[in-house]
Symmetry: C2
Subunit: 167 residues, 2 copies
Amino acid sequence: MVEEFSLGSVEVALSPRERFEEYLRSRGMRNTEQRRVLVDHIFSHHEHFDADQLIAQLPPKGSQGYVSRPTVYRTLAEFVDAGLLRKFELNGRSVYEHDYGYPQHDHLYCNQCHKLLEFQSEELIDLRNRVAMEQQFRVTGHRLIVYGTCRECIAARRRPKRRVDQI
Amino acid sequence: MVEEFSLGSVEVALSPRERFEEYLRSRGMRNTEQRRVLVDHIFSHHEHFDADQLIAQLPPKGSQGYVSRPTVYRTLAEFVDAGLLRKFELNGRSVYEHDYGYPQHDHLYCNQCHKLLEFQSEELIDLRNRVAMEQQFRVTGHRLIVYGTCRECIAARRRPKRRVDQI
DNA sequence: ATCATTGCAAAAGATTTGCAAGGTC
DNA sequence: GACCTTGCAAATCTTTTGCAATGAT
């Protein structure tokens, strides 16, 4: 399971790459070119992404730095395990976002342009913890997505913005 | 889109089946045996379910009342449309729950026994609405799942209960 | 009789797996 | 050299679709 990170301001001792290398060493796993390509790429971009979007951004087959699809999936799972990424489901596909060094947050999802907006709420954490406590439930995390229409799409009513290149 | 139902106590004028028949009539759709089998079955059981679990509970191929897999999927989508069911994703599969005549609620999900516990929170709705308002986001709904370990599985520590026959 | 609906078989889309070849420690 | 990883091809799993036959109005 993924450890819980600090909620407000965040302190990061190691870079994501260093942190991942430590994780690999601690598990007797190998530091391969593909894994380096993936950490470096993913942590130089801050958007949410799914496997396809990630692959589209990486070097194509034949190029230097190419990573095959199965390896991308395998490595994403390792990142989640290592606490570098968080994974969630949206419209039937898996979406990933930074976890390591990134504050806890939730999302507003626009059904029109499919954008994900982030927000933070201490109050939500409190509420969640209180509800759990009442039921004697031990919380490890949560996922809240608020669905609706974003400000821009409301403004552009009847002429919604083109689907954004992001889930 | 699904209409929003009352949040606290609920008033239901029509039975789910009647409501669905009305929906069918209003759309010029036909009231078939398969659709009747499905409404009746689903609304005589109150648990969450996915397509496979539902199919497993229905008459097998060859029996009276058999409904094919494609028809199950097609009909579930109609129920969602008609506001009878709500659909969400859990572990990469679609899970359905009653919507019509059922109060708005959210879930605690036990990672051990995979049970879904429900809870209601007006406060969450307020919070959600306030956050949305701040961002000028027009809310149509939300989905919150709190992950962790349920009371029973905590009690049975080291001897978690067998996976429950429910998602 | 008309036209929606069903079941079948097959397709589609996302993700996973077996395995031989290759790379890291 | 031992053994973890990769890429390929193929499998898996869930859900969807084309289409001819069937059934509802």
